[in-house]
Structure formats: structure tokens, C-alpha cells
Symmetry: C2
Subunit: 237 residues, 2 copies
């Protein structure tokens, strides 16, 4: 079974939602047969690369709320994070363009360390002072500590075309699947879970998707030349 999770490193509910999903997954009896893939979704691709600023005043201005309200929201997110055992810096978090981070997550997938790298980027963004949007050395440190090769990380960051098509393809697929926000969880391309739902909802989704695994429809039921334990269609090794 496969679970695809569309996320953005900018997205606090993606950070929280991943932890809630993992609570459900850890308790799921068929955990070992579940493959998790992280997919790209940019919340705000219009922010210029390298541009950054503190989240609280940015949010206050963007959505026309008071800075006090924006700060209270961050406080609330910090409390939810603490409840999940996740570190969260309630003051000082910044915003920025996440395209390069998504490209890096595709490199990480190709190298088999995507889950570790996304965790590192989340923590780097939500729990550390250094910026993941404006401080490339911070990103390199996080990615290397999570298992990527330093030279490969630098090469991908330096080449704007590296994995760019893969990020765009993920974003197209999100739209095709009807995702307008993140986190967005897709199970075997059959079931969807929108948002950082409680762990029980993920348990329900995993169970439902598992139970609905259906027998395959054979496209040509006559079958073609094949080999089995008793030999090949015409006996061959």
C-alpha cells in the first residue's frame, strides 16, 4: 500500500499532520507494507527566492489581522506541537520560497532518505533560528545530517533545473486529485485525507484503504509467455 503526502515546508499543519499520521501508522498492523512518499506543494510560489521576513508581521499584514492575533496563533501551534513531542519556535519563524527545498526533497527520494530529510527541514524551519529560506548553509547542514551527500546537495541547489520538473509534476497531480491545500494524504490513489486530522482519522483511512485492496483485473486473461516454479510456458529455466 502506498501513502503519498503533499506538503510544504512552510506549512505548520503539514509538520503537525505528519506526526499525527505517523502515530496512526506506527500502530497499524500492516505498517511494514506501507510505503510513504512525500510530494511537493508550494503554498506561496510568488515569494521571490531568498526573500524572507518574520512570519508574525507577514501574516498579520497578509491576512489583515493584528500582530497580537498572529502571535497568538503561533503560540497555539507551538502548544499543539508540544503535545506531539515536536519542537516549535513560537517567535522568530520566517517565511520564504520553498521551491529549492522541494527540489532537494526529490533528490532525497532518489537517494532513499526522503523521510529523514523532510523531518530535518521541518525542524530546521519550525524549531531553529537559522532560516531554511535565506540561509543555504543551514539547508546543506540539515540535508547532510539527514543522510545526503554534500556535493550532491550543493549541485542540486546550484542548478535551478535539477528536479524542477518533478516538483511541477507533483503540483499538477495535486490539482488533478483535487487538493487545494496541504497536508493532503492520498492512499493507493483511492482515499484522500485533507488536513492535519487526528490520528484516529488516519487509522480509519489506513484500515479502509487496506480492506478495499481489490483483486486485480487481468487485462488479457489468457496470459502471455511466463515462467513459474514449474518452468516456463515452453520449458525454459
Amino acid at each position: 500500500m502506498r501513502v503519498e503526502i503533499w506538503t510544504d515546508i512552510n506549512c505548520p499543519f503539514c509538520y503537525l499532520g505528519k506526526a499525527r499520521f505517523e502515530q496512526a501508522l506506527d500502530a497499524f498492523p500492516h505498517k511494514d507494507e506501507v510505503e510513504v512518499v512525500h510530494r511537493s506543494f508550494e503554498l506561496d510560489p510568488t515569494v521571490p527566492k531568498g526573500d524572507t521576513g518574520l512570519v508574525v508581521p507577514h501574516i498579520a499584514q497578509k491576512y489583515g489581522i493584528s500582530e497580537a492575533q498572529a502571535a497568538a496563533n503561533e503560540q497555539g501551534l507551538g502548544e499543539q506541537a508540544a503535545g506531539l513531542g515536536l519542537p516549535y519556535l513560537t517567535a522568530g519563524r520566517d517565511y520564504g520560497n520553498s521551491f529549492d527545498l522541494h527540489r532537494l526533497l526529490h533528490l532525497a527520494r532518489a537517494k532513499g532518505v526522503q523521510d529523514a530529510v523532510i523531518d530535518a527541514l521541518y525542524r530546521g524551519n519550525f524549531a531553529e533560528e537559522d532560516s531554511v529560506f535565506a540561509d543555504e548553509e543551514h539547508v546543506v547542514r540539515l540535508a547532510v545530517a539527514a543522510g545526503l551527500d554534500e556535493a550532491e546537495v550543493r549541485a542540486v541547489l546550484a542548478d535551478p533545473a535539477a528536479y524542477a520538473d518533478e516538483v511541477r509534476a507533483d503540483e499538477r497531480e495535486a490539482a488533478e486529485l483535487g487538493a487545494s491545500g496541504v497536508p493532503f494524504f492520498v492512499l493507493d490513489r483511492k482515499y484522500g485525507v485533507s488536513g492535519a486530522q487526528p490520528a484516529e482519522v488516519f487509522t480509519q483511512a489506513l484500515t479502509q484503504a487496506w480492506q478495499s485492496r481489490s483483486p486485480l483485473t487481468l487485462v488479457d486473461s489468457a496470459g502471455g509467455d511466463a515462467c513459474g516454479p514449474d518452468g516456463c510456458a515452453v520449458p525454459q529455466a
Copy 2:
């Protein structure tokens, strides 16, 4: 869309079937959105590791046919291979235990080079004199030329537990999906194609699976806390 192909390096129809599938895939309009994964299936796990011999007498004895008939079958496979532009050594191919090769294919998947490595192992087995079952240096050369790191290849080959669970999990899944022989192609866990069918059958399967991609069923349609282009559920970055 995802296509999973259960195969064994021992299996001539897997070698031919992959080429026919690729003919269909190359012409498929949504090719860029198709991900291919190779999965493990051992045709004969009872052959002791390192044990090998020529395929023709082995087949003749195992299935009670004459050596001339077994040789004629190899000749026929060679002709089919030639028709697909694939090299094939009609005399001299050997048999053996493929467990280590499957473990290596899982390493290759983790490193993003599975397709190149399986092609290399097929050619190493079907078109080269050196054995992939009894000559570990041949396997190392093939795997490294296909993009794997030599030290990692040697480490996996030297450790019988490396990726062993992944091979067993693939084999369990094959049984659950009803595959009793290979090659066995599974599209989005909905459609199956058994055997090295003509390219037209793969085209039909790809088209059918593409058209039947269905809208997701949302497990909790109320949705949870999420972030979108217009902000988070409570406005956050």
C-alpha cells in the same frame, strides 16, 4: 500512475516482456506520469547459493525433455530477443539462485537506479559468458557500471540480511495479488498483465488504468487543519 513488475533475473520472458512493455510505455501519451518499480520473485529458491550449471541440460533433466528440445527452445528465445533488439546468448546461459540479485535490486531502488541495474543484470545473464549466479565480480562490475557505488554493492552482497525482508515482502505481495509466474505487471494495484504479452496488450492496460483513475474518496470530508494559497485554517504562514 504506477506500474510494478514482478520478475526474476533467471526468467527469459521477463527479459523479453520488459522490452515489450517499454515499447508500449514509450508510445504512451502520459509516459512522464508513469513510475515503474521492479519487484522480486524467485523462480527457484531451492537452488543452493553459488550452485550453477548450463541451462540446456538442466532444463532437459528438470522437465524431462531432450537436450535438443531444450536447445531449440533457447534458440527460439534468442530469435524473439533479436526481434526486440536484445542480445541473447543461445548457448552457455546458466542457472542459479537469484536471491542476492534481488537484494541488490532493492539497493538499486533505494538509490534511484533500479531500472539501469535490472537491465544490466538481464544482459549480464542472457548475453554475457560470465555468470551472474556464480561470479560475484561480474555482478559487481555490472552494478557499478549501472550507477551503484562499489562499496555499497559489496556491503549488500556480503550481508545476507541486507534487503532480505524487502525481497520476502515482494514475494508475499505477489502471492496476495495472485501471481504464480513472472513477468507479472500490476498497474495502480488495479489491473494486472500476466506474461510477456505483445506491446498492444500493455498499451491497452496502460490506457485502461489511466482512464479508470477515479476521484478520491475523502475519508473525513469535513477536512482538518490545512494551509492553502490563501493561508492556513487559522491564518498562519
